[in-house]
Amino acid sequence: MQSLSEIQQALRLALASDVLYGVINARVALRTGIDLRNFDMKDNRNDDFVKKVIEALESLGFTMQSLQAVASKNAAVAK
């Protein structure tokens, strides 16, 4: 995943509820300074920010593989 918006969308799909999404977002934001619910679009493809968020999510147990799988499945369903 190469942008914050891709990660944001995949995480939303992976988490069943908005409440859980809020919890994980707060954990990530406290660790990285990046609020996936409210970031400046000029930072969307900032490699350093994307890397920080991916590292934080991986330490919370979210692999990029699993998030990408969820995103791909959703894209296939949408088609």
Binding site: V19, L20, G22, V23, I24, N25, A26, R27, A29, L30, R31, T32, G33, I34, D35, R37, N38, D48, F49, K52, S59, L60, G61
Partner: protein, 376 residues
Amino acid sequence: MTPDTFRRAHSTATTPQAVAADLFAQFGNLEPRALVLFCAPTQDSVGIAHEIQRKWQSVRIVGCSTAGEISTQTFTQGGVSAAALGADLVGMVVTTVARFDDGVKVGVARAVAELEHRLGQSLKTLSPEKYVGLVFPDSTHGTEELLHVELGNHAPFITFVGGSAGDNAKFLDSRVQSGATSTARGAALMVLELKRPFEIVKGCHYLPEPGSKGHLVTKATGRMLYELDGRPAAEVYAENLECKVEELSYANTARRPAGLLIDGQPWIRQCGPPFHVEGAVTLGCEIAEGSRLHFMRSSGMLVDHFKNQMDGVAKRLGRIEGALLFDCALRRFELEATGTVEPYRDSITYPAVGFHTHGESLLGHIHQTLTALVFG
């Protein structure tokens, strides 16, 4: 028949036996599954726990020392507040102390392993709709941030809520305990299975100016904030607080606290002494480089914000059966400065127990906030 849910008690007695007798009298005939115990630093909290365990061998106790004790319409310093959680409120309950003598990561891992062994399952698999954690870290070793990172890694979905143990704002010797085991370097943890609806509350009446972009944290290490927007942090603070760098103190930083904005909500990062060191600012809480720090203003009176927020919680839950309140000591100072301690205290009309903290816990370490676990 009154359900066995939540009973609150408060004591200003000075011996463990007398305190325990006070608590038992107020708990009535409720036999608790869990007991949350907040003791002034001058109290013998281990002795009190021993007395409680002599009466109820199987009760799980968790708690810490305070910067002031809270219960329904009662604020004290030097006392004990305690909540008994009964079988109609609580199912499984496990508790332990995470000791940090070998480091936070190791201490949390050991504690989590113990909790999971007793629960019979991983914390990762617990439903956040039924399980909640309580956490009381010590406030004198600067370990709260890493504690929450490690807890989050072990249990990303359930929320641990609580506050840092106090010692009446001396920051020398705070204590946390599980059962009759106490430590000055670690965190007390409890995981509860709840049988009634509940809400986790975060209350803070500070918000940034509308449209505020905040200041970019360009250099920070641990709790030292070196630069904002590439400039010495102390200068940026002084400009925002309209004072000189040498005048930075609790008086002005508490009036306009700075913090993060996450999903529109304030997460305060307060300063502490020494407030400025060669252009840097000492925070009581780590902040990540790349964060945006916003200077905030009060959105109204603290007492009104608290009342409105708890009224909202009561509406959503139907009623407040009981509340555990973890209220920053800085909020009490604000109440004292504005002469509003009594209306705030008197607005707590429901069964409640809590303490004034040296920092609050909710997914991370925060300041100048109320965190709470409220049962419906």
